[in-house]
Each structure stands twice: as C-alpha cells, then as structure tokens.
C-alpha cells in the first residue's frame, strides 16, 4: 500500500470542497472495497477524506411518500429497516444476498454504489487493464482469457467488466435516484440510469460524478406495488458474486419491471423490455438483452437470465 494522508470531515459540502481541491483525494466510508484495492495498489489515493462523521446515516420519509436513505446507512441497517422490508422488499433481498454479515455491517449505501468491478484481470496488476490504466489494453479480451463471470451487454472493445453490486440492481428497478453535493455546495439528483456510465472507450469513468462530488443520499420514490423478488444465481450458496441476478417487481395483472445484475457494466434495465413482461421471460429477455455480445465462455448468461426470470414468474 502506498502512503497517503488522511483527514476527517464533518460536513458533506466541506468533504466535496476538499476532495476537489486536494490532488488525488478519495472519500472513504466503510472502506470494504477501497482498502482492499489500496492494498493491491489498484487504487492509489494520495489523500483520504473520511466522511464517516458527516451524519448521513438516517433513513427518513420524503414528502413524496418515499424514503431518503443517507449515504452512510450501512447495508445491514438498510436491509433490516422495517419500512424497507415492507415496501421495498426487493432492496432488502438484494442487500442480504450480497457479501457477508460482517461486510454488510461496515459497507455503506454510497460506497456500495461506487464499488469497483471484480474482473480478475482488473485485480491482477500484472495484467493490462484499461479500467486500471487507461490505454493499457484489456487482458480479458485476449485470445485465451477467462471470461465466464464477465459482461455480455453494454460492454465495449475496451472493457467487458460487470458492476458487482446487488443493491444497485434493486435500486434500478425501484427507480431510485442518487443525491449528491458538488464541490460548490449544490445538490444534484441523478437517476441510476444517468449515474452509471457505460465503458465505451473510457472504462475508467464509471459514473457521472464530477471531481469532488459526493453522494449524500439515495432517494426511493413512493413504494412500488407488487411482488418484490431478487434472485441471485451463483456457483455457491453464499458469499459469491452473481453470475446473473434478477430484480423483479410484478403486479397481479402481470405487468412490472425487471433489472439484471451480473451481465453488464451497470444494473441492466430497459423500459421496452419491462413492457413485455406479460408475455413472459423469453420476450422480456429478447428485448432486454438485444445487442448482447457474449464471449464463448459467458454466452450461457443469455440462457441463464431467461430461465431465472422464468423461475421467478412461475413462483407466483
């Protein structure tokens, strides 16, 4: 790990201002991902701004009938919140399918959104990776590469990594918004669709945050009626990243919404695919995964996504 300087701040706007002004600064909250990445020297911040004391750890009702989740609310607290469990069960279910109890105690809502990919080539600093070192090339796109876990859609010729968050997939299906504070103290609201960026030829840019801009909250709209399901398909029963995950909200008339995890550089959802839900899993996936460019090793994810949604639709 490279040496770094460290400060604590007590105010989100102050944090954002400091992060914009100090070169090589990064925020740290739970640190469950960042510290690992620093140990591997995948992330090498020169300065850490600890936002743990900024007080953003409330879950509060909004005037619109939704919930405003402070960026520092832990994944454990969020998943256990009675309002979340009752009205946003897909979120609760997604959270508890991720990581482990210990990690969820420490990991925060804001940090979860910002976690980096688990592509094995991103983690191996001996390998070229455009996300880690822009322009270096992508070992995962090599002839003999291991790509079983990697993305099938939304990827590019520069990067085929996926976003690993379960929580974000549930937030996407709930139409949640990310609230931020900019270095000049202004508040911004971004939908998750706006928040996450596809790799294109700049895979190092993963979201729409400006230098210094800090997530302060995630805002859930009023509860979405229907059956809330999150199913994470993985090789072992626990403590593994998704091969494919499906977040589904389905109303009794058969309409609803679907988002996928484990297939793309961001939670994957298309309104046009949602509209096909009454026609079943095959119709939805044909639209949702239209344009997919799987590798030979991960083409199974196309079948898996469809069959997983079919399983959830059959559960009633």
């Amino acid at each position: 790990m490279k040496a770094f300087s460290y400060e604590r701040v007590s105010d989100p706007a102050q944090a954002a201002a400091r992060a914009a002004e100090v070169p090589g600064a990064k925020f740290i909250a739970g640190g469950t991902n960042l510290l690992d990445l620093m140990k591997h020297e995948i992330e090498i911040p020169q300065h850490l701004i600890d936002v743990g004391g900024t007080g953003l750890d409330d879950i509060a009702p909004t005037d619109e009938g939704g919930l405003r989740i402070g960026a520092l609310v832990s994944n454990a607290a969020l998943s256990a919140d009675a309002r979340v469990r009752k009205d946003y069960a897909v979120l609760s279910r997604a959270l508890v399918s991720g990581a482990s109890g210990q990690l969820r105690n420490k990991a925060t809502t804001g940090g979860n959104l910002l976690q980096r990919t688990r592509c094995p080539y991103f983690y191996d600093t001996g390998m070229p990776c455009n996300k880690r070192s822009p322009g270096a090339g992508c070992a995962a796109l090599g002839e003999g590469a291991t790509t079983r876990q990697l993305g099938i859609i939304g990827t590019s010729d520069a990067c085929i990594a996926t976003h690993p968050s379960d929580m974000a997939v549930a937030l996407r299906v709930l139409d949640a918004e990310v609230e931020t504070v900019t270095p000049t103290g202004e508040t911004r609201r971004l939908t998750l669709e706006e928040f996450y960026q596809l790799p294109g030829d700049t895979p190092e840019v993963e979201n729409a945050l400006e230098q210094g801009e800090m997530i302060t909250a995630v805002v859930l709209p009023a509860p979405v009626e229907g059956r809330h399901v999150y199913y994470k398909v993985r090789d072992r029963a626990s403590y593994a990243f998704a091969l494919v995950s499906v977040a589904l909200i389905q109303t009794p008339d058969g309409t609803g919404r679907v988002a996928l995890g484990g297939v793309a550089p961001k939670p994957w959802r298309r309104d046009e695919a949602d509209a096909l839900l009454p026609q079943g899993a095959s119709a939805v996936m044909e639209r949702l995964l239209d344009g997919a460019r799987p590798t030979q090793e991960n083409a199974y994810k196309l079948t898996l996504a469809e069959r997983t949604l079919a399983a959830l639709l059959a559960q009633e």
Partner: protein
C-alpha cells in the same frame, strides 16, 4: 522397533483410551487464538523485519532488466534482493521449478525479488517500485491441445491380459472422456515463515510446514549449507492438504532477507500469489473405457489420462486407482504428464486418487446404467479381494462391500427415484448418487522420544499437526501404552530438534506417527524394567507392576528423568500385501430446474480404515474431505488463461471453496475393523479417503436429478443449463 509381521492380539485390542472419542487437546488454544502460528510468532526472536515478495508477471521467458533503486530508497526499506543478483539457488529433489535466483522465469508469479522493511505496508509499497522488464518466451498452456495431439501415445503403466480382445468380445462397453480441473489447496493459513539467519551461521526457521525433515534438508540443499545448522519449528499448521509438503518461496525469501539485513525476517505469501507461486493439483483429461459381460462382470478397463507439469515433474496420476479397485482380468492404464508452462503441479489431498476416482466412479455409474443394474449392486458384483493385476497379492482387510451395503441401508438408497429427472420439489429437481472410495494405506518410518519426569510423560517428535488431531492421537497412544491418563502426557510436535517422524502427508501420518510413539514408549518401559531389575512389567493406572513390585511411575526414578527414543520401521512383508482403505459415499442433491444451480442436501460416508484411533478427530478428517469433495464437484477450478499462461482466478473470491451454506447434513460411519498388517495399532489413515469418490457421487446425483450427464469438473451451472429440460 521393527514391524515385520502382522500384529497379534495386543493392548490396543483392549484399549482404554485409543479408539475412544477425545476432543482435540489443542482445541482450546486454537479457539482462543493462543496457538502460535508461524507469522504471528512475535515473541520468538526480537527485531523482526517484514519481507514482501515480488512475483513475475509473465509465464515464461527471461528478465532482461531490474531496477530496484527506487524501492531501496523508499521509507523503511532495509533491503531489496532481486533474483538477478543471485545464481539460481539449488533445487531440492522435491521441487520442480527453481524457487529463486537467476534471470529465467519458469512460471507466472515466480518470486523474483523480496523487499524487506520495517512494516508490511512499507515493504509492499516499495515492492511495486521495482522496474522489471522481460523478454517473453512462447509456452504451451492448453491441456486440450495436448490431448488432441498426444492421447493414446504414451506407454501404459500396466497392461494386463488382452484389453483389445476383451473389448471386441464384450457385449457391453463404455467409452467416455472426462475432465477434472486444476485445484488449489486453499488452506486457511498461507505459506509463512520467520527466518533468523542474521549471522549467516545457524538458521532458525519458524514456519508452517507438514514435513519438518524434508524441508530442513531442502533448505540445506537450497543454500548449500549443512543441515545441522538449520532448526525448524512448525508446531501449528493452519491447513496444508499437500501444499506445505515442500520448501516454498516464503522460507527462502525470508532466509535471504535475514542474511542480507542481519535481522530476522518474516514472509507470508499473499493469497493472490499462492495460486501461481506455490503448487496445485493439475487438471486432467481422462478417457475411460469399461467392458463387461451381460452378467455385469467387468472384463476390461482401459484408462488413459494426461495432466500438466513443469518439465521434470510428475503431474496428477489419475489412473492408479483403476489398477486394483475392481475385478476384471484385462486392463491397461496409462498416464501422460505433459510438459507445460503453467505453475508447478504437485500433490494435493489424495493426489491422483481424487481426480481418478472423480472419473472412474462416474464411469461405473454410467456402466451400471447401461447394464440396467443398480450401481451399488454393480460394484458389489465386481469387488475383488486380491489385486487383480497380481492375484497372489491379497488385500489384508477389504470391507468395501460392507461399506456399500451399510451405506445403502443407512441412506435409504432403495427408496430413491430411479428415473433421471423424475423427482421434483417445487422448482428443484432432487437426485441421489453414490460412489466408491479407495485409497492406499502407506506407512513411513517414524521416530519419537519420550521423557518420564516425576510421573509426567513428555512426547517429542517432529510429527506435525496440520489440523488433523496429531496432538490428540499421540497423547492417546502414549497414555494407553504407558498405562497413564492423557492429562499426564504432554505432546510436543513439529520441531527439528525432535526425532524424525513420518510427517503429515499421503494419509500415512496418523498410522506411522502413533506407531513411532508406541515404539518409544515400549523402549521406555524396557528402561524402567531394567532400572527396577525386573524382566517384565505391567504399566497400568499410572503405576508399574512386576511381581511383588507395585510402584507409581512418579517414583521409579527418584526425581531423575528417564528418556527413551525409538523409531518404528515397517518391514517389506507389506510388499506382498495390498493394504488399503475403502469407503462408500452417498449424496442427495437438489438442482434448480430453471437455473441449473446444484445444492448438496445430504451426505453420508461409510469408511473402512482399520482401527479408528479417535472417532472425533477421524470424523473431522472425513467431513473435511467430503467438504473439499463438494468444492471439487461444484465450484473449485483454477481457470487457465491459455494465451498468457497462468491461473486467472487466483484469490478466494475467484476460486470458490465451499462455504458453510453449501454444506448440509454430513454423516460418517466407521466400520468396526482392524488391520493387523498395517501397524501395531492396526490403524490406517482416513484423511485422504474422505475426499475420494465424493465428487463423482455428486455428479451421479446430478444425473439422477436432471438426466444430464456432466463429464467435466467443476460441474458449474453453465455446463448443465443448455442441456436442462424445459422447466
């Protein structure tokens, strides 16, 4: 003590302590964090520095340039030693790749430098400042290519009878090809050593190693010094599974760092380096043919396999068990180790057997189905009591049929659904499968020293406890032999100052080391008898009794210490016998009808392994093997980048071992057997038997659940899903 013939009735047949359940005596130390593991031995020597390894990032080639000046100038750095500064260090017999020195890169993540600093983070931070340039050399990394080029070209290890004629004549034959994955030991404690070689004279090594004497000799060879100058301690080992049989880079780098800095240096291999830097079980491709008569009797086996190895290594011999597990007059087995540029393949728990039985026992299931036979009945029919290659060689004790019958009965095998895909609970397909298990029961020369001090007995041997229960069973053995209680026995292990033992490996440790301790205790008894001037004495209740004499052991030496040492030597009479351990595994799985996810629901093992020295620690060994078998079947596989030549998923996030949620109800039954030809205790090992056949039982259960026959491990859902019937 020489063990030159089968044991008669002896004290262990009337045991008070041996064979009884005893919780492991080191358990409290372990669960309270007080068992000292190598990297945490802060107290053994002052002024320790920390070394961090730097590893090659190409698979093959030469280092053309290394500049460590920035690293040397980094904060806290005491020394940087690069591989270019040394000639290649001598290679011990047990190592295939060089561990350090010279410009040649033989495999990915080969150690090429060590940075020594005051703290781990200082060393790690400086490590990445070393500028390394390479000239890459082409390599061969794809076992599939080798298979298509080389299958059927190797000389058979054994060719008995006329295999081709048997296949021509057989009414029923099977011919299938299977693949097993390369696997990592993934033991909890990484390879770690503290080495004090400050003055370049005496070298003291606190390490985590299964084989003290092998490793001491390997260090002597590596550094070209007298082994007598080296002392090794490894009293607690957080798992080995064969990965710590040998000297590895941690101890070598720590020794170099200590010599350079004049201070003790500790080095642990970081987890992401272990997979490519250290050893692993090679993947295999195996073709298995079976011929049988319409009566179900096997007439021929033809088993050929390839595995990968660095040039000079031996790979994973997956065909060996096929030579004598089942009857059949004709057989041909061939193993072709392929020279490849992947990291060093070597032994991992049941080396060869685990991969071979993972395949043979699926083939047996497939053959039983072709014959329309129950797979249990098919195996019973083809049991043999002699080595089929050498019918004059009998199995000493082989109760495989009893394992099968007992297992089938206990598991409720007869009640299972017979039609593949025919049992469903909700969205899950339920299936049952079974497999046979067979693993040899080798023994090794093993020594021990015992000290009687005022009625307390101290046992010293360089035997290791790698989580297996050695402390406990050796205490039981000594207490039993000396007529003492376990509380009056102290066992000291894993130190080169103690007599050389078998060490832990190959399922020989428990059998051999208990026999060595027994021999030392018998020598002590002789000394006591001599001191008391009696020809024969009984040792019971902490006393020695001879005729009129009845003396507490505390009183036999007037406060002096009596020391006795002996070694058990196993005679070559064993060469005329087949000594093995046997088992039967039964499992129930659920396979998601939509996604193809497999979850194991129930496991049963029935084991025939001679006298079970301690049913608690033996059960732990077997369920550990079963758990590893679940990993082998369902998740554990090191993925090869066939262009860049390395194992890609080289951490515990990418290489998935079973977690608690994967492991269901596990039941283990030990048959009440003894094997008088094995050792004075009539015991055999179980540590490797437990994994043998497990993966195949799961594969067979997946077939029963889904009707999909998977012939490639691990049986992840992507290998199932395209063949799954509509849900």
């Amino acid at each position: 003590m020489d063990f030159n013939q089968s044991t008669e009735d002896n004290l262990f047949d009337h045991a008070r302590i041996i064979g009884k359940p005893h919780a492991r005596i080191d358990g409290l130390l372990k669960v309270t964090g007080r068992a000292p593991y190598a990297y945490e031995r802060h107290d053994v020597v002052a002024n320790q520095l920390v070394g961090y390894p730097v590893c090659a990032t190409i698979a093959r080639g030469k280092i053309t340039h290394m500049d460590a000046s920035a690293a040397r100038a980094a904060p806290g750095v005491a020394a940087v030693i690069t591989t270019l500064e040394l000639e290649p260090l001598a290679r011990a017999d047990s190592n295939v790749a060089h561990l350090f020195g010279g410009a040649t890169v033989e495999h990915y993540h080969q150690a090429i430098a060590v940075v020594v600093a005051g703290t781990l983070e200082q060393a790690r931070g400086a490590a990445s400042l070393i500028d390394v340039r390479y000239e890459e050399a082409p390599g061969v990394f794809d076992l599939e290519d080798a298979w298509s080029r080389l299958q059927n070209t190797s000389e058979p290890i054994a060719h008995i009878g006329d295999v081709d004629a048997a296949f021509d004549a057989a009414p029923m034959t099977l011919d299938e090809t299977y693949r097993t994955a390369s696997q990592s030991h993934a033991m909890m404690e990484p390879h770690a050593s503290i080495v004090d070689w400050s003055d370049g004279g005496q070298m003291t090594v606190w390490t985590s190693n299964q084989m003290i004497e092998w490793t001491r000799q390997a260090l002597a060879t590596t550094f070209d010094i007298d082994a007598d100058r080296i002392r090794l301690e490894s009293p607690y080992v957080g798992g080995g599974f064969g990965g710590k049989l040998w000297l590895r880079a941690d101890a070598v780098l720590a020794a170099l760092g200590s010599r350079e800095t004049g201070r003790p240096v500790k080095v642990a291999l970081p987890r992401p380096m272990i997979f490519n830097n250290a050893t692993h079980r090679s993947g295999t491709i195996q073709r298995l043919r079976i011929a049988a008569g319409s009566d179900g009797k096997i007439t021929a086996f033809d088993h050929s396999a390839i595995s990968h190895t660095l040039p000079g290594g031996s790979g994973e011999d997956a065909v060996n068990q096929t030579r004598c597990f089942y009857a059949g007059e004709n057989r041909r087995v061939a193993h072709h180790p392929i020279d490849m540029g992947l990291p060093e393949s070597a032994d991992m728990r049941a080396p060869g057997e685990a991969s071979g039985l993972a395949v043979l026992e699926i083939a047996m299931d497939e053959m039983a189905e072709k014959l329309g036979m129950d797979p249990v009945a098919f195996r019973i029919l083809n049991d043999t009591q002699v080595n089929p290659e050498e019918p004059s060689k009998p199995f000493t004790e082989r109760h495989f049929v009893e394992c099968l019958r007992k297992g089938a009965d206990t598991f409720g095998w007869a009640k299972r659904n017979l039609k593949p895909g025919g049992q469903r609970e909700g969205q899950w397909l339920i299936g049952h499968g079974m497999a046979g298990a067979y693993r040899g029961a080798p023994t090794m020369t093993s020594g021990a020293r015992v000290r009687l001090q005022n009625g307390r007995l101290i046992v010293e041997t360089d035997m290791t406890d790698i989580g297996t229960g050695s402390y406990t069973i050796l205490s039981q053995t000594a207490a039993e032999t000396m007529g003492m209680e376990m509380g009056d026995v102290e066992v000291r292990l894993g130190n080169s100052a103690y007599p050389t033992s078998s060490g832990s490996g190959g399922q020989f440790g428990a059998t051999s080391a208990t026999a060595g301790v027994y021999a030392a205790c018998v020598a002590l008894q002789a000394q006591i008898a001599k001191r008391l001037n009696v020809d024969e004495a009984r040792f019971e209740n902490g006393r020695v009794v001879a005729g009129q004499l009845d003396l507490a052991l505390a009183d036999v030496a007037d406060g002096e210490e009596i020391v006795a040492e002996d070694t058990i030597n196993f005679g070559d009479f064993k060469d005329e016998l087949e000594i093995g351990t046997f088992g039967a595994h039964f499992v129930e799985v659920a396979v998601n009808a939509y996604t193809g996810e497999t979850r194991v629901r129930r496991m049963l093992a029935v084991c025939d392994a001679g006298r079970i020295l301690n049913p608690i620690t033996a059960r732990s060994q077997v369920i550990g093997g079963m758990t590893m078998g679940v990993g082998a079947a369902l998740t554990e596989g090191m993925s090869v980048d066939t262009e860049r030549g390395f194992f890609v998923n080289h951490d515990l996030a990418g290489y998935e071992v079973a977690v608690h949620a994967d492991i269901p109800e596990q039941e283990v039954i030990f048959l009440d057997t003894t094997d008088a030809a094995s050792s004075p205790l009539k015991a055999k090992g179980v540590g490797e038997l437990g994994i043998c056949g497990v993966a195949a039982a799961i594969g067979n259960a997946i077939y029963n659940a889904t009707g999909v026959r998977i012939r490639e491990y691990p049986m992840t859902l992507d290998r199932i899903i395209e063949q799954l019937p509509a849900a």
